[in-house]
Symmetry: C2
Subunit: 339 residues, 2 copies
């Protein structure tokens, strides 16, 4: 198998050149990009920026991304993926990146249907579950990940939904051997001469970094101490708070909800008394004031409909009263003459 | 400036396509590798494996490395770099990677002379000071880094010589703007619209990772608490222990020293009563037994002369008596029938 691999955050994206490229005699790892055609993957327009950054690092350029538009639920549909595939031109498409859930809005892509597309065209399916993978521990939310078992690779951050300190992150491969092939290489002072079976303990062969913190220990300890069910409750509480915030926003005439949250991310904007043309600038200004003031923290995100404020419910000490306080605070900050 | 950047461990190597490539209208970050010629950098045959891994990730393949042979002191000489440059063929050489000191032996390359070569040919000079950068804090050893101020980029690990917990590592650029250009990109929910002057606080623009531990805090706190001079003493003590171990090895008829240590790394092998042809296998076996037994820890390294054991003096609790114990222990392990 010819292999292209780069992991980010520290291991956000992992791509493989599928076997058919190897069958054509093209091994980009050894021979370099020039030995074959330009490569590309299909991602949604909402995909995390690290995907595009990763592809540019690998020498794929701007054209390494074929961006498929998201639907009304901010999801990458199989139809959009098929359409994007048709736009490849001279590029060899080798994979699809699905989100579960997306960083921008927390939307979960239809993984089974995207896996069908990947299977039909012999593409690698990578699922960016960095944010949403933690719902696997929730009885009620687990179904959002249906189909993830068909992914070739999955990225998952335990520091998102599972209260771990940053970073605790993993790249998980469906086929174990792929973990060993991504960085196939020799380094005599580090790597013993051993087959994968014999060197499962040698993480240096399977990670981008050489020296690496034993981040799995934190998660393992927490799971052993608290149990999986406890983490499921944490995940459910975060989603419940997000639903509460979304409901408050939807009910408020001076706010607008971007979409009903699927997980713990709520995107919304303040309408105030500004004209539609001023909405983006108004909400950017609000975001800036929030950061400068420091009472709350909030980020912004660019969605097809404009610039939105984005609140991620992660702190276990957050209560419903804090959500009301946030909205009142934003109203106050938006006043032209603040006290 | 067209930019190619990848950082490892987490930031081991940083390369830029110099301005002259941009002047030719080739921007590999945006246009991808296919828009220009195959690229390469000159590294010594002793360079850390992460350099070659980084180049392969960037799609440069095996040919991305032009390996220059090291001299008798295990250093990359300007003559070897010039010769390597002549072997480029159809590849565009964009940089030289020097070591201070090298991971394999701790050798310090002649940085001023390599900077002259880089200047003469318009190449980026990257110094891998991951291991040896800490000698900057030692009055007596600082001179080994002469010329490092002419490097375009330097990598430095504080978890090597300065007793920090792994990882505490930095990529340092001579020209500040380069730090902002490596990953030039948009991500609306993260990056404010700001010029570099205005967003010095926004590390996401300048690091490979998105979420990142505030590793500088550990080093800053330690330097504030203990002072630079104290760390200089730590570095000097490590070098003194290495000299002691090297002297003991050189004086022992049943051991062979690979080279006089320039810093805290000592490479040597056990001769025992084996034939020259059996030396590599014998020392590999010794290394394996050390690891399995667990009383000591040692690594191995492949040098031009064969396979050597490699001891890195880093633990502040190590005493001279431990060095004698290590050699006696290796003698005992090498006996055919161990007790």
């Amino acid at each position: 198998v010819a292999v292209l691999g780069i992991h980010q955050e520290p291991e956000k994206a992992a791509f493989y050149v599928p076997e058919y490229l190897h069958d054509e005699g093209f091994d980009v790892w050894k021979q370099g990009a020039h030995a074959g055609p330009p490569l590309a993957v299909i991602v949604s327009t909402d995909a995390h920026y690290s995907i595009a950054r990763t592809l540019r690092i690998m020498g794929w350029g701007d054209r390494g991304v074929i961006a498929a538009p998201i639907d009304a639920h901010h999801r990458l549909t199989p139809e959009a993926a098929e359409t994007a595939l048709g736009q490849a031109g001279d590029r060899r498409v080798i994979g699809i990146v699905a989100a579960a859930g997306s960083t921008a809005t927390g939307a979960f892509d239809p993984l089974h249907e995207l896996a069908d597309v990947a299977e039909r065209h012999g593409l690698w399916l990578h699922v960016d579950a960095a944010h949403g993978g933690g719902v696997a521990l929730s009885e009620t939310q687990r179904s959002k990940l249906r189909g993830i078992e068909r992914a070739d690779s999955v990225v998952w951050d335990a520091h998102k939904l599972l209260m771990m300190p940053a970073l605790v992150t993993a790249v998980i491969y469906r086929r174990e051997a792929h973990a060993y092939e991504a960085f196939a290489q020799q380094a005599s002072y580090l790597f013993a001469d051993a087959t994968p079976d014999q060197s499962w303990w040698d993480l240096g062969q399977r990670t981008l970094e050489c020296t690496k913190r034993a981040m799995a220990l934190e998660l393992w300890s927490a799971l052993r101490t608290q149990g999986e069910a406890w983490f499921g409750e944490v995940v459910d509480r975060q989603a419940e708070l997000a639903r509460q915030l979304a409901a408050k926003v939807a009910a408020a005439p001076d706010f607008e909800l971007a979409l009903m949250p699927e997980s713990n991310i709520v995107c919304f904007r303040h309408l105030g008394s500004v004209t539609p043309g001023e909405l983006d600038a108004h909400n950017r200004m609000l975001r800036k004031r929030v950061i400068e003031d420091g009472t709350f923290y909030i980020v912004g995100t660019q969605l097809p409909g404009g610039f939105y404020l984005r609140s991620t419910l992660m702190n276990p000490l957050t209560e419903e009263v804090d959500l009301d306080a946030l909205l009142d605070y934003l109203r106050e900050l938006s006043l032209p003459c603040r006290p």
